[in-house]
Subunit: 337 residues, 2 copies
Amino acid sequence: MKLNRQWILRQRPDDDIGSGDLEFVQTPIPQISVGQMLIRNLYLSLDPTNRLWMSDRDQYLPPVKLGHVMRGSTIGIVEQSLSEKFSPGDIVKLPDGGWQDYAVVRDHMAEAVVEDPTVPLTAHLSVLGMTGLTAYGCLLDIGRPQAGETVVISAAAGAVGSIAGQIAKRQGCHVVGIAGGPQKCRWLTEDLGFDAAIDYKSQDVPTQLDALCPNGIDVAFENVGGSIMDAIFSRLALHGRMAVCGLISGYNDSGPLAGPTDFGRILMKRLTVKGFIVIDYLDRSDAAFANLRQWITGGALIWKDHIIDGLENAPDALNLLFNGKNDGKLMVRIASE
Amino acid sequence: MKLNRQWILRQRPDDDIGSGDLEFVQTPIPQISVGQMLIRNLYLSLDPTNRLWMSDRDQYLPPVKLGHVMRGSTIGIVEQSLSEKFSPGDIVKLPDGGWQDYAVVRDHMAEAVVEDPTVPLTAHLSVLGMTGLTAYGCLLDIGRPQAGETVVISAAAGAVGSIAGQIAKRQGCHVVGIAGGPQKCRWLTEDLGFDAAIDYKSQDVPTQLDALCPNGIDVAFENVGGSIMDAIFSRLALHGRMAVCGLISGYNDSGPLAGPTDFGRILMKRLTVKGFIVIDYLDRSDAAFANLRQWITGGALIWKDHIIDGLENAPDALNLLFNGKNDGKLMVRIASE
């Protein structure tokens, strides 16, 4: 009998995910009923927000319950269908396919993937998935970058940051990225067209920001939080916008996610600080994806998928995001296409 | 010879304004040249922001320089005019008439006050001045309160807060004010129509907010900062807005104006936090003043002016704002109308 391998959340991690936090189990593949489908997962998206879901921090979705399969979005293939909307062999995206081989879902919880020979399937979890939509919506809707403005992006070599920076360049902005290590920084400036990159591992971020943003920062695309956010925040210009897309530096802690030291700057410089979660932007995804697809097809938008083989490696893989060792949009290949 | 009494900023205050911080001097009244007017100040507006101007904190205007006349907006009467725009006897508003009996200004730095027998002249420094415009613009432009939403106003019995709360009631909101003392709280609920008031001097603000805002807070109109802001912020609802109008609790310190503890809530609840300074709203003042004037004429908007007699009392009067002892919009009567 074929079994379903699943990662079950057993306890809430303390810092990086450790050995007792998730358990790898095998269970029978459930039967489906009318309106449901059995999906064989192919790719599992790994995102910083997964670490939030493992915690019991007050957040934008309910935390994953202990004893439940870990939540995660996937791309999969329909194996069995008792739905009129999908047939076996169809490729679908699941917002919660889970950290498992097989998912049973109702048909309204699946979205058809229109296959396109010019883009790899994995792109539907990255640049043409929530990653791309997050970069697009958060930058354009909250950051509202205008030509000539200075945009600073933290975690700029990350899956979201790298796309946001390229969109800001399209808008005619002066774009500075912050990333860890010379290789990532070179990628930003040489391949992605960023105007400058700051290596936070070897350079003093405040000093570099002063040098690279002499008129202050109009738009901050914030993925990190902590001292890097603080350095950016305190250089926001009059009427500057900080689009808070993520605060990853704090996700491994259990305490509150701290804010900028000089909060009064919000008043003095009339800043706008606003949080973004992609679920609020889904109703505008058609236009966004149409643009993103056009840009990648034309070669005008570059992205990288970092694919780890094997569902068994998902927990260790997720930790890569928190020590900056991923190289592009991180995902797990659960099974071959 | 008539002399000009002036308050000169001698040193930057430490906490409340002390005796050596400002010096009361008498100087000759200057001659005017073409395009200028000599204004005899009648009323001087006192606002929390004046205390900021005395500090060298990074702020929205340059700090007042040591050795200069203290900045302040006034209403005055034209005594001499070498401008074609104004004649002796005209009543004008000056954004910087200063803490002094007489101001010499160019005509473009004065605004004609259209006298109206149904409203006192002092209203042009309060409900029909920057105070009313601040309440109106900050609430409607940033807070964007919708009917049925919960609005919380700190320093609600203050000049700005009391007007903002009444406008929120006009919008059909559930309005909770925070003020110091039973008398102010009664004024809010009995005279101004607030749904509830919290006396921060005798009640536990977090407990009261939980009781009065069971579904969280949609709009925070923030005048205070510190622990009161923190209690409000951590109860902001999904897509809540915090309009930062002032952070008075920190103005007497020299350190940074601290933010909320749980900054991550901006992301999790997709909050908008935005600062407001009235100078950004001046281009929309005509519509705002037309509405405010209509509301006060109809008796639908209540306000209070707290008038202290004598320019010599200006520094002590300003301190009233920082210990909550003012009762309405604070101003100094420099000379009789």
